[in-house]
């Protein structure tokens, strides 16, 4: 584990926002993630992909903030997809019973294809 300084970047792909949390996902960084998603939700985006390829480590506060994003999307009948999760991250979510509340894909493109198919 080499926890990098946390940062969040994002891009819009069609009608879906792709979010890239990088580093250690804790309370402070979790808040930035919630804010970043909030910006897209505020602009009417209901499909969000969180790409965890650069997330080194997460703690329970980071997880609870991810739950906040899931709730925000659920309130607007949106969808959250998680991609590029390490086995450790997937197992951690599984331990907490979170996996059944999100759609998980191995890669970002799989998630985008899935979301496109849902539109058509």
């Amino acid at each position: 584990m080499k926890p990098a300084q946390f940062s969040v970047t994002s891009k819009l792909l069609g009608d879906a926002a792709v979010i890239y949390p990088k580093g250690y996902l804790n309370n402070l960084s979790g808040e930035s993630l919630v804010n970043e998603c909030g910006i897209y939700i505020g602009r009417g985006i209901t499909k969000i992909v969180v790409n965890f390829r650069e997330t080194d480590l997460i703690n329970s506060i980071g997880i609870s903030l991810l739950l906040q994003i899931m709730e925000d999307l659920r309130n607007i009948k949106g969808t959250i997809c998680c991609t590029n999760m390490s086995k450790f991250l997937q197992d951690t979510f599984e331990m907490l019973g979170l996996l059944q509340h999100m759609v998980v894909f191995p890669g970002e493109s799989d998630a985008i294809d899935y979301l496109k198919a849902r539109t058509t």
């Binding site: 584990m1 926890p3 703690n59 506060i61 739950l67 899931m70 086995k87 951690t92």
Partner: protein
């Protein structure tokens, strides 16, 4: 006698005849007086100072003539001899019990207390070597005597361990022999005899002794003797009687925090007198524990309760794991568990000290991590688990920390030790090594 007269020690003959006269008259009181004053007489008659060493002087509180309790205040018989400038007395005993004795009106102002610290490591090793040399036993080679640190420089334990080696017929010692002799000493040796006598001296009946032993074991496991209700249940006596037993134990000096030898003695005695095990079983338990410890490594770390300090702990456990060639993914789980325990301490303790103390103990088959912090008590037992579906609807989405810790670690224990919360987490390491 010829030697005594040739040296001109006629006063010594007088002393002995005087004592014999009291013996003939079966006068126990004056026998005690004669014995106590003999060193002073020797000093006065010879003109040379005589130092008197009185070990376990707290036992003087229960001096008696022919049966226990038939005479009180016999300790005052020491008053005259203690005050003699030619005859300094060095009395040893447990601090708590001596406090009580030195408060006796006859001794007030005649004594000065000194607390004895442990011998430094090199002096302790020298003393052990000297005892072994007297008993014609070869000392352990350099690097094979690490186990001696368990004795914490206590001269009594050092001497008793040497004697145990002699009783066991050892001619030379390696680390393993030391552990074997030690297990004998705390089970059947002189250390066991010493502490067992202390326990007997401060308990009046076999039932009280059993009650005291149960409470001592409780203190050892729970780290204290605060809960009087629980102690009363444990002892089988009422609260008041339990309080009396407890006070007697505290005065005897048998309630101690950092005396590992005493703790092992209590463990052994509990196995034998409460659990009904035999001495062989108790010895084996002690030996196994120390043999596995001799292969352990211990790391300690203190972190401030500040943002991202938990990452320092995560980094530490990563390196400890790498030293042991542990699998990366497995280490990620350990890091998460540790991060959670630190966050919990930071968020819930409200500690003014604002520090988390961590100890990592690695053994060939197990990793033990102890996290400790001052502040508010915390117990995960009372926490209700809320399903994810409900959390999604509620404002409060927290409360995952201990769920993760329990899921990741093999054994988790949360206890309160004085004003501190201690979390002990264990993880088996078998099959967790990285495949080469």
């Amino acid at each position: 006698m010829p030697a005594i007269s040739s040296l001109g020690l006629y006063w010594l003959i007088d002393c002995m005849e005087d004592f014999q006269a009291h013996v003939d008259k079966k006068d126990l009181y004056w026998q005690i007086v004669a014995a106590i004053s003999a060193p002073v007489t020797a000093a006065q008659k010879s003109g040379k100072p005589v130092t008197v060493m009185l070990d376990d002087f707290d036992a003087a509180a229960s001096l008696y003539e022919s049966s226990l309790g038939d005479a009180h205040g016999l300790v005052s018989l020491f008053r005259e001899s203690i005050r003699s400038s030619l005859c300094p007395h060095v009395m040893t005993g447990s601090a708590g019990a001596l406090d009580k004795i030195f408060a006796d009106h006859s001794l007030i102002g005649s004594t000065e207390q000194m607390r004895l610290g442990p011998l430094p490591e090199d002096v302790a090793a020298e003393l052990f070597g000297a005892h072994l040399a007297n008993l014609k036993i070869a000392p352990p080679p350099a690097g094979e005597a690490k186990f001696l640190s368990v004795l914490k420089g206590n001269p009594l334990y050092i001497r008793n361990l040497a004697k145990a080696a002699w009783k066991m017929g050892k001619k030379a010692l390696q680390e393993k022999d030391l552990i074997e002799c030690y297990s004998f000493d705390v089970t059947d040796g002189e250390t066991a005899f010493y502490w067992s006598s202390v326990l007997s001296r401060h308990t009046k009946t076999p039932e009280e002794r059993r009650a005291a032993l149960k409470m001592l074991m409780h203190a050892l496991e729970k780290g204290g003797l605060e809960d009087s209700g629980r102690l009363s249940l444990l002892s089988g006596f009422g609260r008041a009687e339990t309080g009396v037993i407890l006070a007697a134990m505290q005065a005897s000096g048998i309630v101690r925090d950092r005396d590992e030898v005493l703790r092992d003695f209590i463990r052994c005695l509990h196995m034998r007198e409460i659990e009904g095990r035999d001495a062989g079983y108790a010895r084996q338990k002690i030996e196994t524990a120390y043999l596995s410890q001799s292969e352990e490594e211990r790391f300690e770390l203190v972190i401030p309760m500040s943002s991202n300090a938990e990452l320092v702990v995560a980094k530490a456990v990563e390196q400890i794991g790498k030293n042991r060639n542990l699998d990366d993914e497995f280490l990620n789980y350990l890091q998460l568990a540790l991060i959670e325990v630190c966050i919990n301490a930071m968020e819930h303790s409200g500690s003014y000290e604002k520090k988390v103390f961590l100890t990592f103990i690695t053994r060939p088959d197990k990793l033990e991590i102890i996290a400790e912090n001052a502040g508010r008590p915390f117990s995960p037992e009372g926490r209700k688990e809320i399903p994810v579906e409900e959390k999604l609807r509620m404002g409060m989405k927290r409360g995952w920390g201990f769920k993760l810790i329990y899921a990741i670690m093999d054994d988790v224990k949360v206890e309160r030790v004085n004003d501190r919360t201690r979390v002990i987490m264990k993880k088996n390491l078998t099959d967790k090594e990285e495949s080469q």
